[in-house]
Amino acid sequence: MRSEWVLPKGHLSYWLRQLRNRASLIAPLRVDGDIVFKSLENIHEVSLDNPALLPSPKEFLLPQQEGMFWTEGERIRPLLNKERRFIFGVRSCDVSALGLLDRFFLEGYGDPFYRERRRNTIFLSIVCNNPDPTCFCIGLGTGPYLEKGFDIQLTDLGDRYFVQAGNRQSQRLVRQWSFLFTTPRKVDYEDQYEVFLSSKARFQKRISLESVREYILAGKVRDSFWESVSERCFECGGCVYECPLCTCFTVTDRSYSFGTERVRLWDTCLFKGFTRMAGGVLPNEKRVLRTKRWYYHKLVHYPDVLGSFGCVGCGRCTVTCPGRIDMATIAIKLRDLQDNGR
């Protein structure tokens, strides 16, 4: 089955309207000075030339707060969210992150809440023509465009989009409205390639996490370095909340007069209470241990266990970290240390 098409720009809003009839359509919308992901009401509010949105689209698969089940007396009613969603306008890095989230939540024991949401969500990603100053996916192979792993990928070719569908479910979304699309010609492939090249040339940050990993594994990074990093940690949890790959959550019960709801909420391993043990012992009471663990998890354990870094270079932590100890800043600091031969 064919999986590549061209969509004239004028046809996009018609297609989006049609998609909206099938499921709830979420897109980057301009509101009060910011651009945020929310349910689409007015197609003309869609904004695609936006910086990385806060938080990442992880919020649609692992929401900040998610009901797990209700109990009333003896009865238990599971709360599985089966809403069908199209998320339009996500970035390549966020789609790359989904691959790792899937492995975390679905390999071995499958998390039913995640599975249900994942099954019912289709991501329509956009190739980044203009990466943010904070972006560094280019060093990680997670962007600015994807070769595989996407549902639907759109490349902006000026007056038209190059559309690629990565699986059968997505192909159907195009074929149902096939009259909107045309067959790609040679010039479309060439234009797409040119967009890829010019996008790659626009990155301001070029970071090799591999060299950082080697530097850490060689035992060159002293604890005093991590001390100086952790001193600046505000313990806001922002890096974890924003991260498209972080999966920490906690579980709590809310008892009302008419029943009890168990919910899970975003949490972070950067809090000392996250690993509190019975009896009140805090294995990671010192902040430096927790900060260091976060970096080790992303740079050492992820590659060991899953084969790729626990970072897709989306740059969200660079935006949100009040202490300026985000992944990119630390990687650059470590590179400088390395270059200075210390």
Binding site: D32, G33, F37, P51, L54, E235, R276, T320, C321
Partner: protein, 698 residues
Amino acid sequence: MDKILTVCPYCGCGCGLYLHVEEGRLVGVSPSRSHPVNRGSLCVKGWNAYEFVVHPDRLLKPMIREDSSGLRECSWDEALDYVAHRLAEIRDRSGPDSIGILSSAKCTNEENYLIMKFARAVIGTNNIDHCARLCHSSTVGGLAAAFGSGAMTNSISEIRDAKVLFVIGSNTTEQHPMIGMHMLDAVDRGAILIVADPRRPQIAEFAHIHLRHRPGTDVALLMGIMHVIVNEGLVDIDFVRRRTENFDAFEHVLRGFHPQAVESITGVSIEDIRRVARIYAMEKRSMLFYAMGITQHITGVDNVRACANLVMLTGHIGLPSSGINPLRGQNNVQGACDMGALPNVYSGYQTVTDPRARRKFERAWRRKLPTKPGLTVVEMTEAAYEGRLKALYITGENPLLSDPDLNHVKEAMKGLEFLVVQDIFPNETMEYADVVLPACSFAEKDGTFTNTERRVQLLTRAIEPIGDSRPDWEIIADLSGRMGYEMQYRGTYEIMEEIALLTPSYGGMLHHRLRERHGLQWPCPDVGHPGTPFLHRKKFAKGLGTFITVEFRPPAELPDEEYPFILTTGRIYFHYHTGTMCRRTAVLEREEPACYVEINPLDAERLHVRDKFPVKVSSRRGSIVVSARVTERTPEGVVFIPFHYSEAAANLLTNAALDPTVKIPEYKVCAVKVEPVMKEDRRTRPVKVVDLEDLRIT
């Protein structure tokens, strides 16, 4: 999924955040990237600000106390009729001044204005106050006298361009995290950071100089610094001559604060005093920041005056990145003060004793208004204790945890004839309430909040009110109608219109203008005005700045043989004030579930106390048992207890000694003793240290 821009309900930073709503339920929060304060960041409280809104403890229905069975649920009509009837009856029998009203720094400007109007026009008393009394009344009093305006002079976004940051008595990164973020940025860009704090807060880790003066010696320290500035000719003479008055009298007093004398009072070395004086005075873009460490003393106003004198002496005011910046605690404490929820002023700090201002409000409200300033928070407690105050109407405050010397406050509350509590959650004060009225949280109402940099921002309703709760302004307007004074507003924008008409500094603050660019900073006198990023340009709000002479007075209660430690109280990062919101947030409560006392390792060793051991902390007024946290953050001879925890309330210990001018209690210094709870032999048993080498399996 919808996302609605609103303002964080926690501290005075006033960060912009989006509330996430799905099927009418709050499900999350995310920061606004374009907001000038937080710029895409939030602190942990902001990130979790959605959770408490739907907590099962929320008050859903009005309640009335039955003598036998405690509180029973009732209808709004019954509750409000009863309140109206009882308040009217007490007013007619004992006079309007037998009723007190506590407004709230958690309520919107519109609500504070209505509550203030309710007290003055409907009840007929100036007995209205709110928790600013307990945090920044020293600022309002001290800076108003010196400059004519008691607020942060600069904008938060100016911090990153400053060259010197002098932070005194503020744990900025933990209590105003987003301001802390801007400070760190400034330091990264080469600014010099000076921190003066007896404890060692996180911000001190980045300080180039950290002065650890003894608690309660701030006046001496600041005067010592000024002594050096005068002596070494670092005074901005032009500024002092053109823009200030009363310098000579001040200089005369200053002569008594020779650095040598100051060293022995404060414990800060002469060299450090000199270094700070030179650095602060010689750089032109110097910003001074202070918070509770300055204000919560019996010398609170003097501390603030000393700070004001310092910036006038050096001319560090009236320019961008140059000024004096009190960091306000509550999200709308600036607004509540601006709106005149204070016993001596109407909105915009127009004094009740000024006949012209009074006549203006009398004409607008069509009522004769009381002429005498009313009682402050702590004085109301005292009056209730003595039986002069018969009824108290409390909105969104919890004096039974936040006021000093709680045992005394309890007695006072018991003595009241009639107590109304209007809140979103049950609190300690409710135990004594005759009527409880359920109010809406920040997510269920609209209006405006004014943050610490004077930025008036729009709050947007994200969800429908929970249960039968109603926004505070609707409750007040309804109640007022039942007491024979109609308050008819179609929405909060109409209240704001009235505020703008009567309040010069809010003249241009209309809701439709505030929607753009995250609000406007006052003064904003008319609808064409773009707002004021920094104050006192070219001239002070009152004309000439006044040097007010101050003398050093030691704290009201100093340690002695029986009570050898100084207790200082404050907040911690994961919690907020009396904990009504944060302690109902799973992650925040999980992080710091119990009260503790910070104690220096050397003191701990002397007491044979180790980390996490339970200890009993007692003062002359009460005692609590908490676990010890042994840390060098707290200096020798000083202990620190957070005041969030009702089960171990630090305010059972604190001293209700008041500043003579503004009546702020001295939360930051009182004398306590610390005793281990465990038996001697358990405490002193040596810990067996296991060598890892021994554990290795061979």
